[in-house]
């Protein structure tokens, strides 16, 4: 018993923090687009950060809960409802048996994450739950979720029941994620090894003018539309390693930012790399939204990443404390009845 897909979404898939250690075989890390939201959803239900979550894109699927479960949503706001009653983001919610979770309206962000206490049960491939759509392996049968799919939970239901006859119980706290996505209104970049391949005016343009995220973007990469950038010469690159966040200059003068499902190697100039701290923020931009860039140093990018991890650790601790206290008191309360 777990959840059943009763309406198919456009690209819902099972993901986790990714598949490490296989890029030398051409197997990319994959994983969630927004690592912060995945970690927040997991911590709200008391999971380890790397537990499997559902990554939802709008229009997202509708899910029937075959048993009572403690869940949390994080990341994009898709106007989630349980049996047509809105529920908040970043808040643990106990959803009753036979209740339906749906998403009505995308008001903010591009990727929403659903975590369930103790996680979704799926076979792990190469130590990860992430779905590799290109290789058709991992996650739920190596593909996006379809109507009628059933994903079981690791642990069955909640005993004794918290919802009773109710559709849901919203637990009385919310994680404050504001600081985790801080960074002003620009996405921060670190210069790439081929930064100097751009001519001087193009380097100026990259940091002065906004770029539009094209609708041809997907989990592999975000294509950017903006001023056409010019290389100093038409030198050819020899294929080399790339990472999530690498910004490549395509022969057309357009840019592509490599995202979760990027290839392990690439043959286009690596102009810059999105700082790790801002990859989740970029992942929440929607198609046709505009994004501006600024350059920071490698040392700054590293410090920002470390300090965000500390914030996440603190939040994880606080969430665990609240949840354990709630469940404990609930247990005592029940036994006194």
């Amino acid at each position: 018993m777990g959840i059943q897909v009763i309406k198919q979404g456009i690209a819902d898939s099972l993901q986790d923090l990714g598949r490490r250690g296989y890029q030398h075989l051409g197997i990319n890390p994959g994983g969630v687009m927004d690592e912060v939201a995945c970690r927040v959803a997991n911590m709200l239900v008391g999971n380890e950060p790397a537990e499997a979550v559902l990554e939802l894109h709008f229009p997202a699927g509708s899910f029937l809960f075959q048993e009572e479960a403690l869940i949390a949503l994080a990341g994009a706001d898709f106007g989630a409802t349980i049996n047509r009653t809105p529920i908040p983001l970043h808040t643990p919610v106990v959803i009753g048996r036979n209740s339906v979770l749906e998403f009505k309206r995308p008001t903010r962000g591009a990727h929403c994450y659903l975590a369930v206490r103790d996680g979704f049960r799926a076979p792990r491939w190469l130590n990860s739950y992430s779905t590799n759509l290109r290789a058709r392996v991992g996650g739920y049968n190596g593909r996006i979720l379809e109507k009628q799919d059933e994903i079981p939970f690791y642990t069955a239901g909640i005993s004794p029941s918290i919802t009773g006859n109710r559709d849901m119980v919203v637990l009385p706290w919310q994680a404050d994620v504001q600081a985790l996505y801080d960074g002003g209104d620009r996405i921060r970049l670190v210069e790439g090894h081929e930064w100097d391949w751009l001519n001087e005016p193009s380097r100026q343009l990259l940091t002065c003018l906004p770029f539009t995220i094209s609708a041809q973007s997907d989990r592999m990469g975000y294509r950017l539309k903006g001023p056409s950038l010019k290389a100093v010469s038409n030198r050819q690159m020899i294929s080399t390693g790339v990472t999530r966040g690498t910004i490549q200059l395509l022969p057309s003068g357009d840019l592509i930012v490599l995202m979760a499902d990027h290839q392990s190697t690439g043959g286009y100039p690596r102009l810059a790399h999105v700082a790790g701290v801002d990859v989740p923020r970029l992942a929440q931009y929607r198609f046709n939204e505009q994004v501006g860039f600024e350059i920071i140093s490698v040392a700054q990018a590293e410090d920002l990443l470390v300090s965000r991890d500390q914030s996440l650790q603190q939040l994880q601790g606080a969430c665990a404390l609240r949840l354990n206290k709630y469940l404990q008191e609930y247990g005592i309360h029940r036994s006194e009845l």
Partner: protein, 234 residues
């Protein structure tokens, strides 16, 4: 052999040898990649050996936690430099010889005609020139188990297509410039397809999901359409 080390964002660094991608450079990289793997540097999650670079992907948070170093980049940089400086002889990379049956039936090679026309060779010549040489796997990338092999006989080299084809079936054997390769899974792609192998280059259920490794030596053995279908029905 001289090298440079540079950051690839704040979560990876690359070691680059020389300015060209020759076979000797590539062998050095394969050997060093094995050493770096054995060195098990804390926080380093992936190694990506390519033609002339070795990219180390690391988690700066993990590096700093496990080493106490104030800068993950400086620390990983230091570790790799130490390892390279101590290097007396670069170990010969492990290399296997692998034969891969390929059916060059025109039905499997939609781009044969194009290459034959552009390079003024017959189909028979194309097949014999392609299957005559032993190729070296320079790197794995692009798709799970996609081997970049070289060097193709100069009489049948053919540039990558300007516009990628939307669907290239798994097992398709192609040429791009002086490189040859096999699509392990079906995918969009720009290589010129001249044949197909019944061998699974990528088998997610296998303990070793990927057949070819960087450093391997590969020879293509032409087979008939009957042999192809016989092979697949095994």
């Amino acid at each position: 052999m001289s090298y440079t080390i540079y950051p690839v964002g704040e979560r990876a660094l690359a070691v680059q040898w020389g300015e060209s991608a020759d076979e000797q450079t590539n062998e050095v990289i394969q050997g060093i990649a094995e050493l770096v793997r054995e060195a098990n540097i804390p926080g380093v999650t992936d190694l990506i050996p390519a033609y002339q670079t070795l990219t180390l992907v690391y988690d700066p948070v993990q590096v700093r936690k496990s080493t106490g170093a104030p800068s993950a980049y400086d620390w990983v940089h230091g570790e790799i430099r130490l390892l390279l400086e101590d290097l007396r002889d670069i170990p010969a990379p492990s290399s296997r010889s692998i034969e891969i049956p390929v059916c060059y039936d025109p039905s499997f090679g939609p781009d044969q005609a194009l290459i034959c026309r552009d390079r003024a060779v017959s189909t028979d010549t194309l097949v014999s020139l392609h299957s005559r040489l032993e190729y070296k796997v320079y790197m794995i990338g692009f798709l799970p188990g996609f081997a970049y092999m070289g060097m193709v006989d100069e009489r049948i080299t053919s540039p990558r297509k300007r516009e990628p084809v939307m669907h290239i079936p798994a097992g398709s054997v192609g040429i791009a410039g002086i490189q040859t390769g096999i699509y392990p899974v079906s995918s969009p792609g720009g290589w010129n397809i001249i044949g197909r192998t019944p061998v699974a280059l990528f088998d997610p259920a296998a303990a070793d999901p990927v057949l070819l490794r960087a450093g391997d030596r590969v020879r293509f053995v032409p087979i008939t359409l009957e042999a192809y279908h016989g092979y697949t029905s095994h």
